[in-house]
């Protein structure tokens, strides 16, 4: 079969559901040999689910899946790899304690006489490191490399198993500008060698630079394809959100009131040498942008007392509060909807009721005894006001969709009537309907005078929702942008440490 007679990889009408949510409602995608296909869409659009299916991590419920014109179905990651499909994970999967050669050949070590054939392994490993432009001794311990180089090692590892299709999920989310440029060079080089890449990214600028074609997902469905000249910012955003941006983020001008939160020279345990100062006023929505690993989540966790500050002062409504655990933060009127909803936001095996009431139990109890009436009422209010879609209040949180889970988290905090609501990646992994509702809620709460501080990796979200935004880079605040200064370019410059351009 000659090149181009049938696409290298083709999926048709793929469906996949999880308890409580239909993640893929019949999506299709084609990938030619030697092509860089960008797959874009907002959080929860189904990109990651499709990638996991392609890489054999989980099976599809229904749909056709062909590699080089041949029907396949993958039962495991090994099945996918034997067909030349490899997933480069967002979280890197190298063993930090092993050297590069051992990592590249982990599980496929060349053997001679029952023992690992070290010299062959090293030689081969060197070859693949060269292929991704890494000039490092193969004895280097993987854990000592910066994240960008580890990622290249991952790619070398995939190539060493004869991968013909590389799936890269947000590869640049924690890379510096320079590392990103190196990665792009490698991707373009691989394309010339006939390797296909599926590139998932939120960074539209990267997509424009790299992609031959763009497939857009929205809410578990195909929203459209773009190629060549059509690949531009406006077209992509329109397909992603399904309408003009201004309609999606229904924002009004706010009149900020008194200062609610004042963070003065606070350093987090993760970045003890980088003191941070920010403030948030009543009725104001403040965004924090930056790359993954820039210290945004750590900052919120420190303000909330999960990882207490190592220096500096935090004032809430002008009063210095010593926050050394979440309880003191909550008592001071703070709330945090954490990034990791399943680990930190909820107690998944417990019910909607038990989750909604968890922070309020103490307040509503008398002498330590539960107040059933208050708990039921609080849950009912949360379910109704947040429009949580649940069969009943006793439903286990695990079985609800990401959007509804996030609504439980928000509901439980609103029951505490916080002065400042902090949201870390508030719409990660949730569908577009729930997303809009959360934006509306943020808008409404700000209108009522609540101070809102949110972290987001989604450019559109920061641009659309913020009255003001801070940008973080390597643990520091690299800049502050008012609403009229907000642009993707300004944020990316600050986020990647390009201070002179800003």
């Amino acid at each position: 079969m000659g090149m181009g007679s049938s696409p290298y990889l083709q999926v048709k009408e793929l469906r996949k559901s999880f308890p409580g949510v239909l993640a893929l409602k019949g999506v299709s995608l084609t990938l030619e040999q030697g092509e860089v296909l960008a797959l874009i869409g907002e959080n929860g659009a189904g990109k990651s689910t499709l990638m996991k299916i392609l890489a054999g991590v989980q099976p599809a419920d229904e749909g056709e899946f062909e590699v080089k014109g041949e029907m396949v179905s993958f039962r495991s990651v090994n099945d996918a790899m034997s067909r030349g499909i490899a997933l480069i994970h967002q979280e890197l999967n190298l063993c930090g304690n092993l050297d590069l050669a051992s990592n590249i050949f982990l599980g496929r070590e060349p053997v001679r006489g029952g023992l690992i054939d070290e010299s062959t392994m090293r030689q081969e490993a060197k070859k693949f490191l060269d292929l991704v432009g890494l000039d490092l001794p193969v004895e280097t311990i993987a854990g000592t490399l910066p994240i960008g180089k580890q990622q290249l090692v991952e790619i070398a590892k995939a190539l060493s198993s004869d991968a013909r299709v590389l799936i890269m999920d947000e590869p640049t989310s924690s890379l510096s500008q320079k590392e990103t440029e190196t990665l792009f060079g490698v991707v373009k080089d691989l394309r010339r060698k006939g390797i296909s890449v599926i590139y998932i990214s939120h960074r539209l600028g990267e997509v424009i630079e790299l992609a031959d074609r763009v497939t857009v997902f929205r809410d578990g469905e195909n929203a459209g394809d773009l190629s060549g000249e059509e690949i531009n910012h406006d077209n992509m955003v329109k397909l992603m959100v399904g309408r003009e941006l201004s309609e999606f983020y229904d924002r009004r001008a706010h009149q900020p009131g008194a200062i609610i939160l004042n963070v003065d020279q606070v350093s987090t345990p993760a970045f003890p040498g980088s003191p941070i100062s920010i403030e948030v006023k009543s009725g104001e929505i403040v965004g924090i942008a930056g790359l993954v690993g820039a210290g945004r989540t750590e900052l919120l966790q420190t303000i909330f007392g999960v990882t207490p500050a190592v220096s500096g002062t935090i004032k809430v409504r002008g009063e210095v509060i010593s926050i050394d655990n979440p309880r003191t933060a909550i008592e001071a009127g703070l709330a945090l909807a954490p990034e990791d909803r399943k680990q930190h936001g909820l107690v998944l095996p417990m019910s909607v009721r038990e989750n909604s009431s968890l922070p309020s139990l103490r307040r509503d109890a008398s002498r330590g005894f539960l107040n059933d009436e208050a708990e039921d009422k609080l849950t009912q209010v949360a379910v109704e006001s947040m429009k949580i879609k649940t069969p009943n209040n006793e439903q286990i949180a695990r079985f609800l969709s990401g959007g509804n889970q996030q609504k439980i988290v928000l509901g439980k905090w609103l029951a505490m009537q916080p002065k400042l609501l902090m949201l870390d990646e508030p719409t990660r992994g949730i569908d577009i309907g729930a997303k809009r509702e959360i934006y509306k809620l943020m808008e409404k709460l700000a209108g009522e005078g609540m101070a809102i501080l949110f972290v987001s990796s989604e450019m559109e979200e920061v641009l659309g929702m913020s009255d003001r935004a801070y940008v973080m880079h390597e643990g520091k605040i690299s800049g502050e942008l008012n609403r009229d200064q907000l642009s993707e370019e300004a944020i990316m410059n600050l986020a990647t440490g390009n201070l002179q351009v800003a």
Binding site: P19, V306, P326, V347, M350, L370, Q395
Partner: protein, 334 residues
């Protein structure tokens, strides 16, 4: 009754009925009283460890705490001639202190519960043997025993802790009354107070619970304190029940029975699950199995084997039941 408790309850009834049919002597009053007494003693320990298992922890030191408390109580009464009520108070404080120490080591020094309580198992056992020079000793005087001040009060305690209350022709062993009171208190604590809710929450997801403003360290310490406290009460009950305490043997392996009962009774070692009723019934099942092996005439060498298989099958059944329930819940539509 929840389905998993219903399952273990049916198991209890089934073994009971089968044994009674094979050997009618099983039903006589003396055997029943003994069965109730031993079930109650085991259940008190099992309830204690249930608090810890609900938080996702483990306590391997229970048997040694039982042994140490029984030894210390006997020493206080016999050698020190201490006021009996003060001696009881002292041993309870000792058990509380042990639990507190476990809790601090686990939450503040971040040592794994398995390690902390395994070391406890070794240390408390050895302390009891050292205190007594490994000689047996009892809380009440046997014939021609010297020591012991205030014999009358000691006899009063003996009735309280290992006496019988006549209910018509049936004599109810007092440990059953202790169990009744303690299990009611435990059930109210777990189901009706915020602290009980916190224990379940942190057992399911400690970080998530902490993010909701709950001092999870303090709650874990509380669980270990309760566990050792219940073991301490069991130690007092055992001391008066046995009359003669063997420092090297009394309470040996009891932690394993307690953990087995908690697990068979529906607690998951992953944490976050468990009911008082289930644990009490499971403790009774374990004692019942022992008794019926004797009654039915199965070789006593098979005791452990049968017990092990029953627990294994019970837990597998429980897991399958949970999966079915979960599947049903997952498909509920809003």
């Amino acid at each position: 009754m929840k389905k998993n408790i219903l399952g273990i309850f049916l198991l209890l009834v089934a073994i009971f009925v089968i044994t009674a049919i094979i050997n009618p002597k099983f039903l006589n009053a003396y055997n029943m009283q003994n069965l109730i007494k031993w079930s109650s003693l085991y259940a008190v320990m099992s309830l204690g460890v249930a608090f810890v298992i609900i938080t996702g922890g483990i306590d391997l030191s229970i048997g040694s705490v039982v042994g140490l408390v029984a030894v210390v109580l006997s020493i206080c009464l016999k050698l020190e001639g201490m006021d009996p009520w003060s001696a009881i108070g002292l041993t309870l404080v000792l058990s509380l202190a042990i639990g507190f120490l476990h809790g601090i080591l686990i939450t503040k020094a971040k040592v794994q519960p398995f390690v902390v309580t395994l070391c406890g198992l070794l240390v408390y056992r050895s302390m009891g043997r050292w205190f007594t020079d490994n000689q047996s000793i009892g809380p009440i005087p046997l014939e021609d025993d010297a020591g012991y001040a205030n014999i009358e009060q000691i006899q009063g305690l003996d009735f309280l802790f290992s006496g019988k209350i006549a209910l018509g022709s049936f004599n109810l062993p007092t440990p059953a009354v202790f169990l009744l009171v303690l299990s009611l208190a435990a059930a109210i604590f777990l189901k009706r107070t915020i602290w009980g809710r916190y224990l379940f929450a942190l057992g399911n997801n400690e970080e998530g619970t902490r993010y909701s403003g709950i001092d999870t360290d303090r709650m874990k310490i509380l669980a270990y304190v309760l566990c050792s406290f219940f073991a301490g009460i069991a130690g007092i009950l055992f001391a008066f029940e046995l009359d003669s305490v063997q420092p090297a043997q009394t309470g040996e392996f009891y932690e394993l029975y307690a953990i087995a009962a908690a697990v068979l009774g529906g607690c998951s070692l992953r944490g976050g699950e468990g009911t008082v009723l289930g644990v009490v019934i499971a403790a009774a099942v374990i004692r019942l199995i022992y008794n019926s092996i004797n009654m039915v005439g199965i070789s006593t060498h098979l005791e452990f084997g049968i017990l092990g298989l029953v627990i294994l099958l019970g837990v597998i059944g429980d897991e399958m039941l949970k999966k079915t329930v979960a599947r049903k819940q997952a498909t509920l539509k809003p």
